[in-house]
Subunit: 164 residues, 2 copies
């Protein structure tokens, strides 16, 4: 790649497809963490007064598709975490899998040029769209890692971090 | 931004400077987590047989500058985690702060066009450089989140996740 090409900025360090693939890779790992929990402890066990892992996974679900939908439609709907219909591990995994193609489809609708447009996500997080999406991923890694500690505290081997 | 501009690929979804800033923002948060630990428990406390947070922070230090140095020099040195000279919270924070400008300087030396060149990091992780660097950040978020659980288990309020 010649110097002029670089100066023109055509050398992307991360493409849109790569960012989506990166996120979906993390989601595949989170799914394995959900699967690793015994069905009851997924909804009840925690450390230090924190939320059980099912609640953390529900937060991820409440962010991913609704957040992307807001970005695509430019609607600033409130964040709605409660998903009382998810009561079992099977239901949680089903919802997780249902979200996967929705994320692909919604992400695809964000034009590349819009990633640096600011959007007031959930009516309260006014940042460039790239930062909002990086936050979705960071938040998932952060909460999933809490699930790793819960699993270790339960004497269960978590999935390898690099397995996506 | 017009259509032709987009087709030419000049619309970056994430610039090199933004990726560095994103990482350094996470490092500022990790620094706050180190600070939040009582000096002794930083080196001794853990949950579920995991490593104390000082060891997790040492891993981050063993990855950041040595990893970038390897990328810049294209040297495939082995990964070396042990840093026996770090024995106190003050020493750990000092090393953390010393790494900060080194990360800036080394990152700056990676040409944009190289982010999709594969490099065999530490002689064993052969991936495009962008993936190696995203892994550094993901690994830091992952281990830092374990520190959040340790702090909660100690009855200490961790820093807000969104504070960078």
């Amino acid at each position: 790649m010649d110097q002029k090409h670089q100066i023109m900025g055509t050398s992307q360090i991360l493409s849109k497809a790569e960012l989506l693939n990166h996120w979906q890779g993390h989601r595949r790992l989170t799914r394995k963490v959900i699967e690793a929990f015994p069905g009851d402890q997924l909804f009840t066990f925690s450390v230090g007064g924190m939320r059980p892992f099912a609640d953390l996974a529900k937060e991820m679900l409440a962010i991913a598709v609704p957040g992307l939908q807001g970005i695509v439609d430019r609607t600033e709907s409130d964040y709605e975490e409660s998903q009382p219909d998810i009561k079992t591990k099977a239901q949680l995994l089903l919802r997780w899998d249902e979200a996967t193609p929705h994320i692909d489809a919604l992400f695809d609708q964000i034009p590349e040029a819009d990633f640096h447009v600011s959007f007031n996500l959930f009516g309260q997080y006014n940042f460039p769209i790239i930062q909002n999406i990086l936050y979705f991923i960071d938040n998932e890694i952060h909460h999933r890692a809490q699930g790793y500690v819960y699993l270790r505290a339960l004497g269960i081997q978590p999935p390898f971090f690099w397995e996506r």
